[in-house]
């Protein structure tokens, strides 16, 4: 497809388990972002990649959260030892570096994580 693709769309796991969420950005977009959205709240920034490197990971809440983008395209958000408070919708977005000035981030539909 032409848009940002996120898998899985829904994930239910038990407390303490390991989870991976995948984001496939729009082809050619060098910038990739992860946000987290809790119920009734706006999205909260987690991490930003420019190419393969994490340019800003200041939003990751603790060391249980880690994200990679080894080839500068697909990214995986990894959550270790999940806690009930991790339950949220995890949104991925991408943009062309040059389009940052237009402000347009292209968002995926999100991965809804539920930790029981």
């Amino acid at each position: 497809g032409a848009g940002v693709s996120q898998t899985p769309s829904n994930k239910v796991t038990e407390k303490g388990k390991y989870v991976e969420l995948r984001c496939d950005p729009i082809s050619g977009h060098t910038a990739l972002y992860w946000y987290r959205q809790s119920l009734g709240q706006g999205p909260e920034f987690l991490i930003y990649f420019q190419g393969t490197g994490a340019a800003d990971d200041s939003g990751l809440p603790n060391d249980r959260f880690f994200a990679v983008r080894p080839e500068g395209s697909v990214s995986t958000l990894k959550i270790q030892r999940t806690e009930r408070g991790d339950s949220a919708v995890y949104l991925c977005a991408s943009s062309l570096k040059g389009e940052v000035l237009t402000g347009e981030l292209f968002f995926g539909e999100g991965s809804r994580l539920t930790v029981l």
Binding site: G40, G42, P43, E44, A55, V100, G103, E104
Partner: protein
């Protein structure tokens, strides 16, 4: 308190009526972004404002950024059912739009 405060938190209007959503920042912004979100979907970009006093329009939606770049309003004229959803303002406080701080959203319902 939120860095960005949106008001109202929810709004119900009759189809065809005009409405305004406000977004207030406690700090001066590099840019202010408006997005729309429908349930189960990602955010859709509406417009970006950078200059104090700037105003932009897209179809029946107009957004303004005040001179001090700390408050923005989103105005919808002659609302339609397709306008229903959650409107989110996002602030760029550092420049470059790599990291946006979002408000909590305004849920808009349009009654036929």
């Amino acid at each position: 308190s939120q860095e960005l405060e949106q008001s109202p938190q929810s709004l119900i209007v009759q189809e065809g009526k005009n409405l305004t959503i406000n977004c207030t920042s406690s700090k001066t912004l590099y840019g202010l972004y408006w997005y729309k979100q429908k349930y189960g979907e990602g955010l859709i970009f509406l417009m970006m404002l950078q200059k104090g006093g700037e105003e932009k329009s897209h179809e029946k939606i107009t957004a303004k950024l005040d001179e001090k770049k700390q408050q923005s309003s989103l105005h919808i004229t002659a609302s339609q059912p397709s306008h229903a959803g959650i409107y989110l303002c996002g602030a760029d406080r550092w420049g470059g739009a790599q990291k946006l701080v979002f408000g909590q959203g305004t849920r808009l319902t349009i009654n036929p």
